[in-house]
Each structure stands twice: as C-alpha cells, then as structure tokens.
C-alpha cells in the first residue's frame, strides 16, 4: 500500500456529461447524440437537410430541455418591489408585459456586454425565464447577485422543454391540448396553461425557427409520454440540434456564444427591441450607461446578414473584407437548406451595413463574394 500527498492541483475535476429526461427516447429514435452545454443532446436523426426542410413544410419536435428554466417570485406575489428588482436586472418594461406573454430580453454586464439572451414571461405569481443552456449556471449566479434577498429564484430543473415548430404544429398540438383558452386564441408571443396528454403544460406560441410554433414546458417525468404523443401525429418528426441551428440562421436569429457575447452589446447586435422604450431614456439596468450612449451615438459596427456566392459556406471566424480592407468577421455561417446557398451573420463596419453592399469573405485562402441582405433570410411565418 502506498500513500502520497495530493495537492489541490492534482485533483482533476471529473466533468460528467449529464443526461436529460428524453435521453433514452432520442437514442431509441436513432438520434446521433453529442455533448452540448454539458448534456448529451440529439444532433440529428435522419439528416440535417431533411429535418430542416420537414420543419419548414410540416412540423418538427425539438428537445430543448438543456435550456435553463428559472422562476422569480416572492412570498408576497408579484409586488412592486419584485417588479422593480427584475427591472433593475433586465432592460425590460414590465408595465407593458401582459400576463402569459413571453418577451425577449438580455442579461447585460456592467459594460453593456451581453451575458445571455432570454425570454421573460409574466405568470400570475411570478416571472418565468428561459435562458440558454450553456450559460444557465452563470445566469443564475448573476441574477441571484442582482436580485434582493427576499426575491426568490428557483431553477426549475425538473421541467423539460420541448418546441413544436412548423406550419402544421398547430394542427398536431391542438389534438392533444385542453385548457381554459382554446389553443387557437394563442397568437405569436402569447402563452397559457394547458393540459397536454393529461399533464400540466405551459405553452407559448414562440420558437427559434421563424415558423409558427410552440414552446412547451412539462414535467420531466412526462416528457417521453408527450414526445410520443406529438410524434405519433403524421405531421411531426423529431428534429435535432443541427437543424435547429440552420433554421434559426435562416430566420436571422442570433445564437448566444456565437453571434452574441460579452464582446457585443445591444446596438451592434441589432437588438434594440430588447431594450424596451421606457428603459431607453430611464436606464437603470446593468450596462445602461453604455447602452444609452450607443442608442444616442450609434456603434462602429453592426450585425448583418450576408448571402454568399457559390456553394462554399462562410463559417464562424471567417474574416470579412471590403476590397483589401478587413472590415468584419463572420459569427455564424452555413449552407441554407431552404435557399440552397450559403448564408452568414457577420459583424461589419457600420459604413458597410447597407443592403446590397458587396463584401468578400475569406475562407481557406479564397475570397468568396458576398452581399449584405436584410434578415431574416427566409421570411418569418409567425401566427400574429
């Protein structure tokens, strides 16, 4: 037997990839699983191209249970104090946030850098937030610091989150929901409580594909039952993370960690709408000095969309040129299954952000011809 001293440096922290409630379900459906945001996640089933196009023409079921679901409340319900605390943490105007309606917001650092993008929904008893999976632990820490002690923050880590997206999502979901409000009354960016397959579900008409569709929070232990129920409908197939990325890119929606980061802020990321009108003059949220200054003075660069000639995709990290001058960088790029050509998001000098501006993108020593276009690349088809 031997014993030897172990210093802290010698203790290697073992990082275990976690599993989500639908892990076995995905594997049974033949998904290829990859590690993503600390979890095993389905990247594709039959293939990204087919799954992408299926979602655009019918309906796809996405498991996004890796995302963080957080509930902010207090002993005394949604008091003025709780509202003030949430407004001190986020650039949102809760005075205009109706019951059940999710709204896009941003978690900013003191310099106005983006720590995460998220959805905030007013529930009768508190606020329900959905944050990105890869950032959720940091977000929870940041929010706990920003919120006063008597405001409670619960991580709803036993709740699964599914997204049913596509033009036939409504038809498929309607067959299985019961609620005080008919599903047909939910317009884009509205939400309500339903029974889905007999279990409690919070359903909002929202998503990350540009299509009509729903995001569905259900108890983790019911996730497989609900997934079976929905995929039992002829319109619905399970869709992996790969197509989720290509769909959101076509929809012009930024992805945190790629198109958004602490190095980007509200105005250069072209997310003005995430700072609600009242807050643009009042400020009073983390980073508001910088954000209000940017609103007044503009920024040196902006996030734009690029259509790329040929078939070679411009990828994240590719440099963007105007003539011989380096003017920006690609933050997301790939081949658009719907348009059958490469598309990209990039941050470029503000002088070169006008629609139609010709730019080149350097990929593997070649200069690809690109053109600034307005986003979305594929029109949104929300149910307004």
């Amino acid at each position: 037997m031997s014993e030897y001293p172990v210093s802290d440096d010698d203790l290697v922290e073992e990082i275990v990839t976690l599993t989500l409630p639908l892990d076995a379900w995905h594997r049974e459906k033949g998904s290829r699983m990859v590690e993503f945001a600390g979890y095993w996640m389905p990247v594709q089933y039959e293939g990204i191209m087919a799954e992408h196009l299926w979602t655009r023409e019918s309906a796809g079921l996405f498991d996004v249970s890796h995302m963080g679901q957080v509930y902010i409340s207090s002993e005394h319900g949604v008091t003025a104090e709780v509202e003030a605390a949430v407004e001190a943490a986020l650039p949102i105007d809760l005075g205009t946030l109706k019951l059940g309606a999710p709204r896009y917001s941003l978690l900013l650092d003191e310099d106005g850098g983006i720590l995460d993008d998220l959805m905030v929904t007013r529930w009768a008893t508190g606020f329900y937030l959905v944050v990105n999976g890869a950032t959720k632990w940091d977000d929870i820490g940041t929010l706990r610091e920003l919120l006063p002690d008597d405001v409670t923050l619960n991580h709803l880590d036993e709740s699964a989150l599914l997204a049913l997206q596509g033009p036939k999502a409504f038809a498929a979901l309607e067959r299985h929901v019961e609620g005080d409000t008919p599903l047909s009354e939910l317009k884009f960016m509205k939400g309500a409580a339903f029974k889905l397959g007999g279990v409690d579900a919070w359903i909002s008409r929202s998503g990350y594909t540009g299509e009509d569709g729903f995001e569905i929070a259900i108890p983790g232990e019911s996730a497989a039952m609900v997934a079976d129920l929905l995929c039992g409908e002829p319109e619905v197939k399970p869709i992996g993370l790969g197509a989720r990325d290509s769909l959101r890119l076509e929809a012009g929606l930024p992805l945190y960690g790629h198109d958004l980061s602490p190095e980007t802020s509200v105005i250069d990321a072209d997310l003005k709408f995430a700072v609600n009108k009242r807050r643009r003059t009042e400020g009073g949220f983390p980073g508001s000095d910088r954000v209000l200054k940017d609103f007044a003075e503009g920024t040196a660069r902006k996030r734009i969309g690029l259509i790329v000639e040929g078939r070679m995709a411009a990828r994240e990290g590719a440099k963007v040129f105007s003539g011989n001058q380096e003017v920006g960088v690609v933050t997301s790029g790939g081949f658009s299954p719907s348009l059958q050509q490469p598309i990209a998001m990039a941050y470029v000098d503000i002088a070169l952000t006008a629609e139609g501006t010709a730019l080149t993108i350097e990929m593997r020593g070649k200069k690809l011809d690109g053109k600034v276009v307005s986003m979305p690349f594929v029109p949104h088809r929300y149910h307004r």
Binding site: V43, Q44, G47, I48, M49, A50, H52, G242, S246, G310, R311, M312, A313, R315, G334, F335, P337, P342, R364
Partner: protein, 123 residues
Amino acid sequence: MTRYFSEDHEWIEVEGDLGTVGITDYAQGQLGDITFVEVPAEGASVSKGDSVSVVDSVKAASDVYTPVSGTIAAVNEALADQPELVNTEAETGGWLFRVTLSDAAELGTLMDEAAYKSYVDSL
C-alpha cells in the same frame, strides 16, 4: 485493383501507379448532408497526410487528407453540381480525386477492407 483505407476514413483504389481517392461511407454518414466539395488542383504535387480537399456539410467543413504522396491526375468534376454524390455514392461515383503515386510503399501503411471495418467497429 486493390482498395486500401486510412484511419482518417479515406479510401484509395489503386491500379498500376494511379490511385482513386474518396471518403468512406462511414465518414459521409458522420458528416451528414454534403453541400460542397473543394477538390485539389490538377497537377498539384501532394504529400501523404496533406489536407488536399475539403468536404463541406450543413454542419461543418472537414479536411480530406491524401493517403499517399504523388501528383493530382484528375478530380471528380461531377461534384461541382452534385456534391451529394459523396453521400449517396461515397465509395463509387462520389470519388474526389485521382493521384499518380510517387511512392507505392506508402500503401503498406494503410488498412485493407477487413482491418478498416474492425477499426470503425472499435470507434
């Protein structure tokens, strides 16, 4: 004609001093839908292990390494319009390039079909 395989999932079929190179069916399955193939320049002189071609899928771009040294003798022109041939006919019509071998001894470092199969099974 003999077919060899590399650990990087390229196949090469050799007839005389001419080798035809592609990626394996296993590799195309891993990459997913292929949207673009960058082929090497004809006449280029290449060394075993060089990245000489790139296969772009919806997901990502992947390098293809030449399993032997030599000179690029031909490229598969059909891939310009039909990159998906690499998915549908990875080990036949979806070949990438032909190379005139400069050192046939390099083939000895590659696997035969049975060895490649057990290599893939071990992954």
